[in-house]
Symmetry: C2
């Protein structure tokens, strides 16, 4: 009886290990990865460290915050370029609206996009080592929107490893 | 000999415990706490979770991000008001400047102030349960600047436990 329990437990542990591996290596729903790049929304990014806020004027009129995972944040703090593999940056964006409580202030309205950059020098060799994902309501935007990412980053911030955002001092 | 070692170790451990207690309960340098409230810059706040960004117009022209410790972030996510004791909010602020690389964007320039709110309903009973600290280059601003904090929060956001910032969606 004890042996059977042990065997069942071992089987259950094995299944859990396989399930954990699957979670770590591929998204649960392939519809939730970006076209072209296969980038998904990273787990727990809402708790990541602030790299910098930004405001984008018309026509988008958005407030934004770029956050980074620990690998990206360490690279920023140590002025490491290019960013090492495993660096992930996420830009959260909201429509901006006037604060109803303090006139000089502009605050976040509705969430708009969540945009992701994942560094993997080999996998994304054709795009400066970065994979891109642009999500709206948790779902990836279409392929046309993903075709524009790298060209703009390449044209404007090639000298900063294709990343616009600097660590806010 | 062994007894003496044990005694020395016990003494050393006792001293360490006292030192740790001192670190936890009072700042190393009393010059680094805010007047009136005795609030210091909390350890590790730069890695805390984003509550929301904001932009403040003229004359300050600042970009800001409010971050919260785990207690504050949990309270926000569960819509808990008033915030529980131990909640700490930190507002980081920077002068805003145009991005040299992307015309529609405004990005952080020089850091200006770091402002702290600490919830302790008993200690700060006279100011809605909140202690305030306003820091410039890591040093607390003068008493006159701290005299204005609560009156403004009380007049404008009493119904949100004296806190302006809402969790960005």
């Amino acid at each position: 009886m004890r042996a059977m329990h042990a065997s069942l437990l071992a089987t259950a542990a094995g299944s859990l290990a396989i399930a954990a591996l699957a979670l770590a290596t591929e998204p649960a729903d392939k519809g939730l990865v970006s076209p072209i790049y296969g980038v998904s929304l990273p787990h727990g990014y809402r708790q990541w460290e602030v790299i910098a806020p930004a405001m984008e004027g018309a026509p988008l009129d958005e407030l934004r915050v770029v956050v980074g995972n620990a690998t990206a944040a360490r690279a920023y703090r140590s002025h490491t370029l290019p960013f090492p593999d495993g660096s992930v940056l996420v830009k959260l964006a909201w429509k901006q609206k006037p604060s109803p409580e303090f006139a000089p202030a502009t605050i976040p309205g509705a969430a708009t996009t969540v945009q992701v950059m994942v560094k993997d020098a080999r996998r994304y060799a054709a795009t400066g080592g970065w994979g891109f994902g642009r999500f709206i309501d948790g779902k990836p935007a279409d392929e046309a929107q993903h075709r524009t990412c790298f060209a703009c980053h390449q044209a404007r911030v090639k000298g900063h490893d294709f990343v616009f955002t600097r660590l806010a001092p």
